[in-house]
Symmetry: C2
Subunit: 106 residues, 2 copies
């Protein structure tokens, strides 16, 4: 089991769950009504999301409320940061040209 954030958000259902509970904490049953699968399948997704700490569970009687750990989402943002430099900056055009020249020179 790899179980890192990137593997967690790879599944479209899981991304939808994340978006759902980002608004407000929800129980597995409530979440499941939004999808075309069994409650158990949703439960498995929640387990994966919990394992990589993207989601936090809070028991309340017999109900369990799952809520998004927004902080963890920052890790994706941090990984993206290195590329943001490229697509934002003037960097892009000039340096890509230089890179290509260096390659062709050989």
């Amino acid at each position: 089991m790899r179980r890192d954030i990137f593997q967690a958000i790879a599944d479209p259902t899981r991304r939808a769950i994340i978006a759902l509970i980002a608004v407000q904490a929800m129980t597995p049953n409530a979440i499941a009504t939004h999808f075309d699968t069994t409650r158990q399948a949703v439960s498995k997704h929640l387990r994966i999301l919990t394992e990589c700490e993207l989601v936090k569970a809070t028991q309340e009687g017999r109900e369990i409320h799952y809520q998004l750990e927004v902080q963890k989402m920052k890790e994706i943002d941090q990984w993206l940061a290195q590329f943001r430099k490229i697509w934002e900056g003037r960097f892009s055009e000039l340096d890509k040209l230089l890179a290509n020249m260096k390659t062709k020179k050989k």
Copy 2:
């Protein structure tokens, strides 16, 4: 085959390849030397990255140069945007409180 960006970046080797060619375009052979797998395995990764248009191939004689399609990376950024609102804004604390109250009220 799902083959969307999120599935593409789920694999750590693929993320490493992306980071590598972000700096400058590279051939499959050159890329493969950076990893502990066969050239063919890298080739398969490149195929997946190409299919979801994260990477662009340019033939040059018998060599093929793969280069990152930085634009495509923005799509991840765009998906992340909805959560950035939450983790950045004052939004977070107050609204999470309200969301919880609304849940408990029932």
